[in-house]
Assembly symmetry: C2
Homo-oligomer: 482 residues x 2
């Protein structure tokens, strides 16, 4: 058994004169005397004071940035700034050396681009320590939120033979060889010979299976990886990302909006309460970063202010139709500053429109509902046509400042006949989804759910701007490193 | 907004005379009067008493097994057995009909085999309600356990370009077509043209990436899906299953064993405390099921007794070498009842040997350590050879009664030179794993971790015997249904 004290515990303690052993990685070593030591348990380093006279020179030489050491000594009150306790070491042991010339993380500021290339080491920086602590806190908050409400965490399948949802391009999962691929008599690939006896893909969403759970267990949620084989090299998209998808029986669109707003506020609040140091650091980081931007592009609010603002205000709720009216009359539309001008009902909203609504018009998170049926998925509940005969569905999108779409959801079409005719219209094969239709045949009921892109929530809470910086090892076109 | 009271809340309440609306699925309807209603929130049904005289016949006719209804009425003290409260309905509304002739779930006992074929509906049975509630509780317990201890939940990648771990056959993830597959000049498949610019697979373990996290954040864990493309059609294997993999810096094998034993006891205890009804039901279910077995095959302990036994006893810890001695001298070995006789040191243990140790010899969970290097992975820390020159590694397997291997882990080889020579011996390309070796080059330190197969834990706690019954939609050879 290895006996050591975690640095996070020591930094909170005032048990002066206690003898402790700490282990961690050297951040800096000043004047052959002061080691800033970090073991990952805290963003803050512990100052370890070396007894220069009694430490062998071959040990001193190896106390370099990145080296792992064990230090045994006494906890003493610190006279230095920004810390109340330090460890006066009586013994230093080198666990693992780090060649200062070769170690890629020097004690200076590195660009995020550079750190992305050494994603296996970037966890050792303050920024990424903070990001992954916040990500961890948000994950736990998600589970705790649903657990408190009696939802069942359902592990929907990752590998799926159904590609009917049409949420995006899919990755094939196969064990068939490219050489001498088994063929049927008519020359097609014989997927009966593939591992699952049919063509299989990585899931784009657990929703359809989640509905099966909700229509029996009442309230479920998923929290797992989802995949899109889309060739988008943006700061907003990943080929592999984590999604949270609750689904609730006996719920309508309003219940759905309330649940999503509650979830977002709960998780943000949890992060504020449990990641004070990390959010403080990330707030300062963002202020520093924005100093390099022209005044006009800087945020009005700091990161912490933005998070608190979110908690203290209700999200603005309006229909797509109302949003279109606002956009039509908006300055950038009138002055033709939008790339895509809004001139008629039915247009899909582009990122510029969403940003205008959220960042300029309402200046807070917005929930848009009741989108035109033509631009939404088959499973969304059809509204009665309006007086002009326009067809909408009970969809909702939650738009966040700086992020865009954070949540997409809907009340589901629970009426078998309406669902079937919608599927026919959209060329979605009913026989493939017989199991989905069965929930409408046997005891159908109103139900609703949504998907929350977890990395987008982490982006919002950390104030980072590139989605590749908020997941440990990002997957995107031409990259599956580590 | 849909206003309804959850049945789990009503069953706990004594607010008699309160007017409530409940919604759920009809389990049974007796004497045109008593509905057993279930909304998934609880295993137990709520008795809804229909006002026969004032309920229209066309409504009465539609109160069939599987139908979804809404009932409004008064909470009254129940005179019936096994319940303290029921709802005297003044109004019944049919939300979704269920054709009694066609609904596959009749109010009778169905075989698990049959229910597997209708996995989209089996959530509505008591057995599967209980299983997935227990699974949910165990998941939450895992997160809470690590959260309390300051571990960071790390989402290691699902798609990986590394196939170096050698834990098993992998699924290919690709967007390349089987027709007109892009080829290099020398006729090979040109994976540069594939989505990730290289050949990619589904992960078999997050361990190697987890180590990268631990060697910076100190203590991490993963909890996500992992995959094996193995053609095993057994009651113990899935092609897609969930794994929990903690990894701890500054920890040795003993710390690792303690962590694993604590985790298992914590999660089992959590399930006992939070799933009393479900475990009660599953205990009775198992007793009933074992009645069909010959006396000799029945368990000595009931499910609840087995779980409590686990909590109250320390797991037996011994080395592989000690285990071999026990097995050599064992009756089934002497009487040649083992299929694979143990005659010399170095043999890999088969399921029959593990079962003997756990179920016959020690009669409790067992942790075996220090396995022969030849039968274990490259990343496990090498021990000094023993007096006979035999090489072992700091591995541990935790064996559970009725389950076999529940946990596999090790202290990792943190010494660069030893790791490199082991990789060379085992033909594992160092250049592909440069990032893994970097953790040994820059500040290496002792660390350890393990993998816990989540479905095996769910099997143990639910007393189920087929792994396909403890995951919502099992994936196995020739099956990716739903």
């Amino acid at each position: 058994m290895i006996i050591r004290e975690k640095i996070s515990n020591i930094l909170k303690s005032t048990e002066y004169n206690k003898e402790v052993t700490v282990m961690g990685w050297v951040k800096t070593f000043r004047n052959n005397q002061f080691i800033a030591l970090n073991d990952g348990s805290s963003m803050s380093n512990l100052q370890v004071v070396v007894d220069f006279a009694n430490t062998p020179e071959n040990i001193l030489k190896k106390i370099t940035t990145g080296a792992a050491i064990s230090a045994t000594g006494t906890m003493v009150e610190s006279l230095g700034k920004g810390q109340t306790v330090e460890v006066k070491a009586s013994k230093i042991e080198i666990l693992g050396e780090s060649d200062a010339e070769k170690f890629p993380l020097q004690p200076k500021k590195h660009s995020l681009e550079f750190l992305r290339e050494i994603a296996h080491l970037r966890f050792r920086t303050n920024t990424f320590n903070a990001i992954f602590k916040v990500r961890n806190a948000l994950s736990f908050a998600v589970h705790q939120f649903f657990n408190e409400r009696g939802f069942v965490y359902l592990h929907t399948p990752i590998i799926t033979a159904s590609d009917a949802e049409g949420a995006g391009e899919m990755f094939r999962v196969t064990t068939l060889p490219f050489e001498n691929t088994p063929r049927t008599d008519d020359g097609n690939v014989d997927f009966k010979e593939d591992f699952f006896g049919r063509s299989a893909n990585l899931t784009v969403s657990g929703q359809l299976e989640g509905e099966l759970g909700a229509m029996a267990l009442g309230e479920i949620y998923t929290f797992g990886p989802t995949f899109r084989a889309e060739n988008s090299n943006t700061t907003r998209h990943l080929a592999e990302f984590w999604m949270i998808e609750p689904e609730v029986a006996f719920a309508d669109l309003e219940d759905n909006m309330n649940l999503a707003e509650d979830l977002l506020k709960y998780t943000i609040k949890y992060a504020i309460e449990n990641c004070a140091d990390e959010l403080d650091f990330l707030t300062t980081r963002l202020v520093e970063e924005e100093k390099n931007k022209p005044q006009a592009e800087r945020s009005d609010l700091t990161l912490m202010e933005k998070l608190n603002f979110c908690l203290e205000n209700s999200f603005e709720r309006l229909t797509y139709t109302e949003a279109i009216e606002i956009l039509k009359r908006s300055k950038p539309n009138q002055k033709k500053q939008f790339k895509y001008l809004i001139d008629e009902w039915g247009a899909d909203l582009q990122s510029e429109h969403e940003r205008y609504l959220v960042e300029k018009h309402f200046k807070k998170p917005v929930i848009l509902t009741d989108y035109p049926a033509d631009i939404k998925s088959f499973y969304m509940r059809m509204n009665e046509p309006d007086e002009q005969g326009r067809k909408t569905v009970r969809a909702m999108d939650i738009l966040f400042p700086g992020i865009g779409e954070m949540v997409g959801g809907s009340q589901r079409e629970e009426r078998l006949d309406k669902l079937q005719s919608r599927m026919d219209e959209m060329h979605i094969p009913q026989d493939e989804l017989y199991w989905y239709l069965d929930t409408r045949k046997f005891g159908t009921a109103p139900h609703a759910g949504f998907g929350l892109g977890f990395e987008r929530l982490v982006l919002f809470v950390t104030g980072m701007t590139n989605i590749r910086d908020v997941i440990p090892f990002p997957r995107f076109p031409k990259n599956a490193e580590f």
